[in-house]
């Protein structure tokens, strides 16, 4: 792999950019791998990356039915934060956020991590109490957040109308080191690093069956033939239930559409991320100047990556009071992704009823922020069979009543 650097840019400028090489190789499936990861989204690629980096396991294939990063990883609004309520969540989300701080250097790939600060508005008394509680929990967990006043909110985000008649801003939970990153770059950076370690990233290849023998995985059937493996990591987000069914088990997951939209680009007017959970909307400005807007999920099961228009309408309607400026903007694009939602709004990183199969899913509306931490933890789980970061996120926790209730922290999609 040729390293990217200022020197490389200068060198290439002098020779008509003829010296750049492919970021990752085009791979043909081999007959057998130590580990097969299904799904080349951020979580699957990060799992493969840390298998190689932390455990020296590099006979790995990442199999993707479409193109890498074409699932939710390339469709999200890129909010990164770790201000969750429960201890197991704080541990994995903060691990993840801290890995984002050094990801560009680690991968030698600019993922444009921008810790511009994330605020979650309190617009009801109930939310004030909820977020104050989260701020206290975060300080015990070693996650730096604070509850700030409406005046400070206005200072940080002057375009906001804090005394809206219906939902005035009463304060906010502020995480100064939260922010955004370039979603595609995260997938591409991991793919390049995996390929460099000799792993195969096989695109346009769908896993259509899972082979087992005596309760243990032996391989997968794909649209490009059978491939054997010792271990199988299923990291397919919205399609988790479909793949699990092929391996003979069921998951506590429902797949629903989540939509987002961007406005036409405008001059810089907002350098923080704002989430307004009561009215179900959130907003940030991209580097290109578009206002990036997201809201809540649709209510019904859906695999079409297409949502209902009235959700877009509701989201924008909600934001207009708090951000009057959006009322004048034209919508540029709108899209949807299929998110995998669990009963307690927390993910699943777990062994499964089949030996050698591990599942990573349930990140639902908020897993972009978790990509590096989830990959780190999942790699340990796959390599060693257990990981301190995944212990509480077992798929069997629902049977035991050990929920990790994040319905407040994840009450709105992000």
């Amino acid at each position: 792999m040729k390293r990217y650097s200022a020197f490389a840019v200068a060198r290439e400028a002098f020779r008509q950019h003829t010296g750049w090489t492919r970021a990752w190789g085009r791979a043909e499936p081999k007959a057998r791998y130590d580990v097969i990861v299904v799904g080349a989204g951020g979580h699957g690629l990060a799992t493969a990356y840390y298998l190689g980096k932390n455990f020296g396991i590099t006979n790995v294939a990442v199999i993707e039915k479409g193109w890498l990063g074409g699932g939710n990883t390339g469709r999200n609004t890129t909010i990164i934060r770790s201000n969750y309520l429960q201890d197991p969540s704080a541990a994995i989300y903060e691990k993840s956020r801290s890995l984002y701080e050094t990801m560009s250097q680690d991968l030698n790939y600019n993922v444009m991590f921008s810790p511009r600060g994330v605020m979650m508005l309190a617009q009801t008394q109930h939310e004030i109490r909820g977020y104050q509680r989260t701020a206290h929990a975060n300080s015990l967990q070693g996650v730096t957040t604070e509850f700030i006043t409406p005046e400070r909110v206005k200072e940080l985000c002057p375009i906001m109308n804090i005394d809206g008649p219906r939902y005035p801003v009463l304060g906010a939970l502020w995480q100064a080191r939260g922010g955004t990153a370039r979603h595609d770059a995260v997938a591409w950076g991991y793919a390049r690093a995996c390929s460099d370690m000799g792993m195969d990233i096989i695109q346009q290849c769908e896993v259509t069956g899972v082979q087992t023998s005596d309760g243990r995985v032996t391989g997968v059937t794909t649209t490009r033939g059978d491939i054997q493996c010792d271990k199988l990591a299923m990291v397919v987000a919205g399609h988790a239930s479909v793949l699990a069914q092929k391996a003979g088990f069921q998951l506590p997951i429902e797949s629903v559409a989540l939509q987002a939209l961007v406005s036409e680009p405008i001059k810089p007017c907002m350098d923080v991320v704002v989430m307004a959970n009561t009215v179900h909307g959130y907003l940030s400005q991209s580097d290109k100047g578009e206002m990036v807007i997201g809201g809540g999920t649709d209510g019904y099961n859906n695999y079409t990556q297409r949502g209902s228009f009235h959700h877009i309408e509701e989201t924008v309607r909600a934001l207009v009071e708090t951000f009057p400026i959006v009322g004048r903007l034209k919508m540029l694009r709108q899209w949807g992704g299929i998110v995998d939602v669990t009963g307690d709004r927390s993910p699943i990183l777990s062994k499964t009823p089949v030996d050698g199969i591990f599942v990573n899913c349930g990140w639902g509306t908020g897993g972009f922020k978790a990509i590096p931490g989830s990959g780190w933890a999942m790699a340990e789980l796959v390599a060693k069979g257990h990981s301190p970061l995944t212990e509480e996120f077992s798929m069997f926790r629902f049977r035991q009543g050990k929920f990790i209730d994040e319905s407040v922290a994840a009450g709105v999609a992000h």
Partner: protein, 101 residues
């Protein structure tokens, strides 16, 4: 926009007047059922990519629950039917068969 026929009102209803209620025909378990049965009832879901039987409530109308057969991969609606059933009726099953033929 999704439009479903409310079998009680006999009217076609816009999605904005409806409230989704998830998988239909779940068997409610009794107080002495074991943990696994409760897990099945409360959390485990078919979540198929294809035909899905599901509950809807005509929230801004008659207020009643009814059931629908819908395809989650194509958004095709095969029909709606009364919630007072333990399994999808024949005409719905036939409509599904016909559509898939």
């Amino acid at each position: 926009m999704l439009i479903l026929h409310c079998p009680y009102c006999g009217r076609d209803v816009d999605e904005t007047d409806l409230h989704p209620g998830g998988e239909a025909h779940l068997k409610r378990v009794g107080p002495d059922a074991d943990a696994e049965a409760f897990e099945q009832y409360l959390f485990m879901r078919e979540n198929p990519k294809g035909v899905h039987f599901e509950r809807w409530r005509h929230a801004y109308g008659c207020g009643k629950w009814f059931l629908a057969a819908r395809n989650t991969a194509t958004l095709q609606v095969y029909g709606t039917y009364s919630a007072q059933t333990t399994e999808p009726p024949h005409d719905i099953m036939n409509a599904i068969k016909e559509a898939q033929a």
